[in-house]
Symmetry: C2
């Protein structure tokens, strides 16, 4: 598909898709006329990239972990580059840490919201009911 369709289907603006290509995160084939041609699986791929960037993973790192996310569960490289392996382990640990931080803080926010809601309803304020 071309860039416009991918924009529609992935929700990622064409402008960003070109930017991500510049950053080496996606490298679509080119048609004879120079237009970018994207494979089907890239719809999910670019959504995933968005999520990762949004979660504080820099593009430089995302480039490294992309091979882990191959749609057509492709060949794991025969012999592992030990440097890459170490990068992956580090990044896995960093992600675990982010998950912990986010969980803790989300829970704190949740408790705070509940306290506010309780306080609000005690005052007769209109609040959404628990489901």
């Amino acid at each position: 598909m071309r860039i416009g369709e991918l924009e529609q289907r992935s929700g990622v603006p064409a402008r960003m898709l070109r930017y991500y290509e510049e950053q080496g995160l996606v490298t679509p084939r080119r048609l004879d006329n120079g237009y970018r041609e994207y494979d089907e699986y890239l719809v999910d791929r670019v959504a995933k990239i968005r999520g990762l960037i949004d979660s504080g993973i820099p593009t430089r790192i995302i480039g490294n972990i992309l091979p882990c996310l191959n749609q057509p569960q492709r060949v794991v490289v025969d012999d592992a580059d030990p440097e890459l392996l170490e990068i992956l382990r580090q990044e896995r640990d960093r992600m675990t840490h982010k998950i912990d931080v986010l969980s803790q803080n989300r829970d704190a926010i949740t408790r705070y919201i509940q306290a506010l809601e309780t306080a609000g309803s005690r005052h007769g304020t209109r609040e959404r009911q628990p489901a």
Copy 2:
């Protein structure tokens, strides 16, 4: 405590502490001589701020959720600003989303690492043993 001690104890460089103050995330009292004076609980606070920024939460948002993290579990505002409440709910949901994205991708990385390790050991490569 002064900025140097906070730098030591929180691991956040003094330069950044001043920057976060500029962004309105911490507002230490001032001594007569103009030096910043930080309360004890800010040691944890600034570490939390670091974690949140690192997890892709912009400072503008962090400013909003800081009240949720009060050390001396302070007064929940008597009447809830419904706008703030909505911001909090949105941010809670966004954080949940980030957690999901990170978890999924971390698991994919973990599987990939294991595949690499297996492939490596099959080739006689030296690898760390499972504990």
